[in-house]
Amino acid sequence: MALNRRSFLELAAATTALTAIGVQASHAQDADTLRIGIAANGPRHSDPNLTTQGSDNWATEQMYEQLVRPDDGRFALKPEEYLPTLATEWTQSGDAKSWTFKLREGVQFHRNYGEMTSEDVVFSFERAIKEGTNRTILSNIESVVATGPYEIAITLKQPDVNLLGTSIFNNNTSIVSKKAYEEIGGEAFATDAVGTGPYELVQFDPEFGTRLKRHEGYWGDKAKIANVECVYIADTTARTLALLSGNVDIIEAVRAPGWIDSILQRDPTLKIDMTTPGSFNTLHINLTRKPFDNLLVRQALMHAIDRPAVAAALAPMGGVMAGLQPDFFPAGFKTEDLPAELQYPYDPEKSKALLAEAGFPNGISFDSLCSQREDYSSTMLIVQELIRPAGFNMNLIIGDHTAYHADNRSDKNTLAMHSSSYPPIPTQIYFQQLASASEVKADGSGGGNYSHYGVAMPGIDDLLNQALTASDYETYLDLCKQIELQVLRDLPLIGLSTLGFTAVRSAKVDLGYEVESGYARWRFHRATKTV
């Protein structure tokens, strides 16, 4: 058939018209499906042992469980706050090196992969120790042995009074089915893992996201909403519009000043769920760069940063850090509980005086790198303005997020902001950001101690080693508090603020519990939805 001008135009017009008369409603929603808009382009893994993209854990949180868990919506601040989950009881030896766990009987894996036994638990731990993304923390585990069909024993190389927090309630040690892994194969398991959680995987679509359905054989109270869809929408505007239009029920928020206010202006009925503390925003002071090797200059900087003002600017997500731990975390201090000389109240005049005493009466100028990501750039721009009146002229060089981290890891920064989430296990931040073993290296082979603390000057290594090998929790906490005070005296690292992880929820969805603290994901098995 010859395609002449007229038929071509008719065909094109018909195509255009057809696209305009779509039949599917854009608000296709039902009470039995909960849709969450996730701030990333697409899922990478559904295997809890492999996830490196934090957003993927919204789905894994629904599908997998560990031997113990804290209550929904919060961290366990102390070991005794963990709740029996796939284990019903546990014991530890006096030296905190030998632990036994009695497993819950009758727990069924998704998709009829049978009952969970000690064989699956041992398999899951061994896989996490050998192949997981968090092998360093798990490297303290000497062995995991089945001592019965429903009992396992864990032996550690060194004592760990926080084992429940460091290694048991850990994404990597989520319990997966050994039989499923063997049948499905390691590679396919990365996007098709089988767990015991209240929801099971239906579809893993690298473009759309993940679809889950209720696990009908769940050992506990079954999920109230039948389906959960994790829809990946990286673009902030698109994600916000998706929530406002009713296309999704929950979205990950933008952690920038004013964002919460602006979305509530648009729809005041929306609900805000937020973890406290969320991320720990810290500022590394490079001790190898003059004049920051001078304690007086660091003290001047500390007095120049109005930390409550930084937290207030990030409200309602921001929180004040007196030291490196939030005050309600086990080793945290309230500002008023610190010795007066370690409280560092905002005082630009004192800051100027300290700078003058250090030999810089006219202030100092320096370059500092910063990521363009909104939480980094907004915080550092606030800091830049706060310290300027005291005589610190910081020239911020704002660039690509990935390049920023690579530059930090190559020791190219002077004041390096870092944002990471930590559980109430104080030694994690000390090890990652302050231990001499984690010192940054110019060739990029070092770690996250961008201050060179413990190398450029004596640090907290001895106290940290004692804490890491403590066999009772009180001694551990006491040593961590000593570290907090030591860091406040030496000032290699400043706790700028905390920044809560936030999600915005339609008023039609009730989570069934309050989100208080915890990682940047929460479970939906108690949620209900009205249409």
Binding site: R5, L9, A12, A13, T15, T16, L18, T19, A20, G22, V23, Q24, S26, H27, N41, G42, R44, H45, T52, Q53, G54, T133, R135, T136, E187, P206, E207, F208, V231, Y232, I233, A234, D235, T237, A238, R239, L241, A242, L244, S245, N247, G399, D400, H401, T402, A403, H405, A406, D407, R409, H418, S419, S420, Q432, S438, G444, S445, G446, G447, G448
Partner: protein
Amino acid sequence: MARYLLLRLGDAIPTLFLVLTLVFIAMRILPGDPALAALGDAALPEQLAEFRERMGLNVPLWQQYFNFLGGVLTLDFGRSLLSNTPVLTLIAQNLPYTIELTLAAMAMGIVAGIPMGVLAATNRNKLPDTGVRLFSLIGYAIPDFFLGALLLITFALNLGWFPINGAGTDFASRMHHIFLPALTLAFVKAAFLGRLTRTSLLEVLGKDYVRTARAKGAREKRVIYNHGLRNAMLPITTGLGLSLLSTLSGSVAVELVFNRPGIGRLLIDAIAQRDYAVIQGGVLVFAVFVVLINLLMDLVYVVVDPRVRVS
């Protein structure tokens, strides 16, 4: 003709080779560590080192380059550093969406743009002409991402006529999902083609053979479409080729705004995360398209204007 095609395809090989080399070098020059991007900034040195070794990032650059070229020759583009999915699979999953969007936008742009150009040329300096020129000006001035957000807020959020994101599943749903993104891209196409058609047609309508046709009593419609528009098609065809290429590149922003899957969105994420293998595969796809579209345009010239012959 077949020999001509083979020669033109042969010419494309050095171009593609050059593109691949430039992309390889550019990605390695860019600051940023794919291992850090994949594992997060809290990753420990030993985890990073192991990742680099596993992904072949610890070998010398020249070796990475030859590994990459060897892979391309055997159609093995490697695996995503982030998800470990074969790059070819990612491309196969995303490419249809980009092609679909490009074709829909082109169809809309042609349907709106060419008649507008004819209308303007046949009503020179009258109201329709002014209207078309004003539309062209606005079409050129509004960036894709802004227009996309505007359409999204108006027609998807406020009026609820269209889905807010995604790409749909069955045919009707896909057409429903594609309308606003395609319209966004078509807006500038229509502006461009309208302007181009107007200019080309005006030039042709001033030629002697058009005057002769009118003198012989040919009807005005016949004069415009058979004598005018047909002879104006050569520059319009060139414009269509350019427009098609710009639609492909414009799809990057539109896919992001409308949260549609596609090669553009895949590339943006890969660049942000320094996922070298995906970037290289994605850019190669774009380069192949550019070569093929240019070749297609050369062939269309022959069809549109019989005076043009393959030499």
